[in-house]
């Protein structure tokens, strides 16, 4: 059995404002190569906090978190630790790009910080990432003047710049127009099954959502956070046939399916 890229065992997720309050408990989550995880739950249930714990930004209240890196052959080696930044995280609600930098500088910053080079020394790599994410026309603009969908793409390009093994996306489709949703689903499908060898495709992807429908074709593993508990939902066919009320609601909710 391949080793996991990241594993949360018996983890409880503390609240942002008060670490003594547990938002989600009993999280047993293991992500392996080639997996595409979809974590569903109503707004405010703790999905974002879960990703922040997985990314190492927030310490779990209880339980253990372990991270390992893929070996050269592409399989993970549990004993080999990787730097935390090999886990890419794209935040919700616009992705939190750095507004004082241009789009190109946003993408160049993590590369240059870790390589110790000037921001203009990675132009070709940045241009390639901006081409893939269709941000090239906006390269010299500040993210603050872009719309929410484009800002989120800036954050995606920035996260991919470090070639993460695991890409975590916090509600990437939230509040996006139909065309933007289609772009994200197409791009994530390309990341999942890359045809271009230079595309910095992560070994695994995990997204959070409050609408399961768009993810049924892409997701390979599904989970639900409901009433402070983590519940594994299984594969897409199991989700589609699930009679769980929360799952049914996230599959047929007309508000979410208008797009």
């Amino acid at each position: 059995m391949p080793a996991s890229l990241i594993e949360l065992r018996g983890v409880s997720i503390p609240a942002r404002q008060d670490p003594d309050i547990t938002v989600v408990s009993g999280v047993d989550w293991r992500v392996q190569d080639q997996e595409f995880w979809v974590i569903a739950g109503p707004p405010g249930c703790g999905k974002s906090l879960l990703l922040e714990v997985a990314a190492g930004l927030v310490a779990p209240g209880r339980g253990t978190r372990s991270v390992s890196a893929p070996s050269a052959a592409g399989t993970a080696t549990a004993a080999l630790p990787i730097p935390e930044h090999r886990i890419g995280l794209v935040f919700a609600d616009g992705g939190r790009p750095f507004n004082q930098l241009t789009v190109a500088e946003n993408v160049a910053l993590p590369l240059c910080y870790h390589r110790g080079c000037r921001l203009d020394a990675v132009t070709s790599e940045v241009e390639r990432l901006l081409d893939w994410t269709e941000l090239a026309p906006h390269a010299q603009r500040r993210p603050a003047i872009l719309n929410r969908g484009l800002r989120q793409r800036v954050a995606l390009a920035r996260a991919l710049a470090l070639r993460p093994s695991l890409l975590l996306l916090d509600n990437p489709l939230g509040g996006l127009a139909t065309s933007q949703i289609r772009w994200w689903l197409d791009f994530l499908a390309r990341l999942q099954h890359p045809r271009h060898p230079a595309l910095p495709a992560p070994a695994a992807i995990a997204v959070t959502t409050d609408n399961l429908r768009p993810w049924l074709t892409l997701g390979t593993h599904f989970a639900l956070i409901e009433e402070g508990r983590w519940r594994s939902l299984g594969s897409p066919p199991e989700v589609a046939s699930s009679q769980h009320p929360a799952v049914r609601e996230m599959l047929i909710d007309p508000v979410h399916t208008r797009d």
């Binding site: 942002r16 930004l57 992705g95 507004n99 240059c112 020394a121 996260a159």
Partner: protein, 287 residues
């Protein structure tokens, strides 16, 4: 019936009664809470300062191609960018303080004290303090707002998610920029005030030659003045940077709280600089 409180034998006062005096409970609570908050904030700020100093020393060469340009940017912002304002203040200081002092001392025949007065008032006190206040108002406020927005918009977590140390990327350039900025601005302010002061004295027909004026200044200055000036101004800059960065960055903020954090940072910086200045006065008196 309760027993009578014991008397204070020395002063003949019932000390227990004094302790149980009718100070309003809410007032004592207010003072106590204020002091506890002050101690807690000072403790956190000191910890933040030590962490920043640790990062500054251990990561100075890390990602230098990215961070060093930010340091130069901050030096330009807190130093070069303030030159017009400092030139204006130097002229005003020369006119208000030096021009009048020189004229007055000359009138009463105390020309020999001109150098001592200049060094005490301008070099030791007003120069560093005014430069620090200018940097606080022009750069410190902007720093709290910038970092407060960065914090409130979640960009600090975004930096951490990319493996970038926020202290290294956001705080270290500002600490160095403000420390060097206050040092250089103080020097320019002092030089400008001394020259413009003599200019105003000259315009008032004060019978004092430039040679005599600068000879007295040179006699009143010691090497300790230069060393302490450098130390004091860099300490002022460091304090301004640490306090403003702390209030903007070191605690979770909502956008609506940025203005409150800015006010608090300004007041704290002002008090800290005055307290440090008082400490240096003691050093000067011991010299």
């Amino acid at each position: 019936m309760p027993a009578a409180p014991p008397l204070n034998r020395e002063k003949g006062l019932p000390w227990q009664a004094v302790l149980q005096s009718p100070l309003p409970r809410s007032y004592t609570n207010f003072v106590g809470q204020w002091m506890l908050r002050w101690i807690d904030a000072s403790h956190k700020m000191l910890a933040f300062a030590l962490i920043s100093l640790g990062v500054l020393t251990t990561k100075f060469k890390t990602a230098s191609a990215v961070v060093h340009p930010l340091i130069f940017e901050q030096i330009a912002r807190a130093g070069l960018g303030m030159l017009p304002m400092i030139s204006f203040l130097a002229a005003a200081l020369g006119f208000v303080v030096i021009g009048q002092t020189v004229a007055l001392l000359t009138q009463v025949g105390a020309q020999d004290l001109i150098g001592t007065v200049m060094v005490t008032v301008v070099v030791r006190e007003l120069g560093p303090l005014i430069a620090a206040m200018v940097v606080l108002l022009r750069v410190g406020t902007a720093t709290v707002i910038e970092l407060g927005m960065t914090r409130a918009l979640g960009e600090v977590e975004a930096l951490e998610a990319l493996g970038i140390d926020p202290i290294h990327y956001l705080v270290v350039p500002r600490v160095l920029g403000m420390a060097i900025g206050v040092l250089t601005l103080s020097s320019y302010l002092i030089l400008g005030a001394v020259f413009s002061g003599y200019l105003f004295a000259f315009l008032q027909d004060v019978p004092l030659t430039p040679g005599e004026y600068f000879r007295q200044l040179a006699l009143a200055l010691t090497w300790q003045d230069f060393a302490l000036l450098a130390l004091k101004t860099m300490a002022f800059g460091g304090i301004l940077a640490v306090v403003t960065c702390f209030h903007g960055l070191a605690q979770p903020l909502l956008l609506a709280e940025v203005s409150t954090a800015t006010t608090r940072a300004l007041v704290t910086s002002l008090i800290a600089c005055v307290a440090l200045d008082a400490l240096f006065i003691v050093v000067y008196l011991l010299m």
